[in-house]
Symmetry: C2
Subunit: 125 residues, 2 copies
DNA sequence: CGCACATATGAACAGATGTTCATATATACC
DNA sequence: GGTATATATGAACATCTGTTCATATGTGCG
């Protein structure tokens, strides 16, 4: 029940705005969602996650597969860990990383569907 | 069939690396995926897209709902348009934006599932 | 045509992001 | 304990990103 401070521009469709406002999730949810997607929005992290879809891998393997420094991988793994996208288990000095759950696989599947979709015709200006 | 230039580090699990390498999609796909998710990785764009899930809206409505300048909305709409996430139709001087397809709805649904999931227990160090 | 409105665009700027390099931690083995 | 390996972390830095402000485009109307 937010008192909507009516904008002074006049092209606004009031009921539409009110309806959408009520349906709209809060700042925090929007921020969380954005944070999640942002984490998926980097080529290195995408490759890490996709690699882990095949099987669990150690940091060393990841650097070999993806072709970036171990430091870079490590930094990115931290991002993914913080967002609970990956988990790991230790075996001696080696850490084996794997996907935290199957949300990522489904997100990737959806994403790939959009990306590889036959772009009917650009709707760009 | 990429000839894998074996990394000089020795903790690598060779067959694992080779297997994953073969399964891994190309640079271009990884880049496209990352680009898509990056587009979803901003609070303003998240709110725009979520608003459009309810119904089509003009730019003015969006500024009112989300509470940012029309210029900012416009800039973000361009990003979303470029990635074919939204489309629009003109009616006089007003442009009505709407979601380009239903991939976004499904991506959001998946994303929300992850975000709102009861975080069993942090797996952070 | 000229003006008003709805939206788009470009430049500028502050803040965020990803990598590198150097260094630290943790574990195994001698 | 000391050394080697696997990984993590912090600082530094160049690049990218999102907003704002000023200005441009496009449409309707008188």
């Amino acid at each position: 029940m937010v008192e909507l401070d009516r904008c002074d521009i006049n092209c606004i469709h009031d009921e539409a705005v009110q309806a959408v406002r009520q349906a709209l999730f809060g700042e925090d949810v929007a921020a969380s969602l954005a944070e999640l997607f942002k984490a998926l929005g980097d080529p290195t992290r995408v490759k890490i996650l996709f690699s882990l879809m095949t099987r669990e891998l150690c940091v060393c393997d990841l650097t070999a597969v993806i072709g970036v420094s171990d430091s870079a991988v490590s930094h990115q793994l931290r991002v993914l860990r913080t967002l609970r996208l990956v988990k790991f288990r230790r075996e001696g000095k080696i850490l084996y990383y794997s996907l935290a759950d199957d949300h990522i696989e489904r997100l990737f599947a959806q994403g790939l569907e959009h990306v590889t979709e036959p772009k009917s015709e650009m709707n760009e200006e």
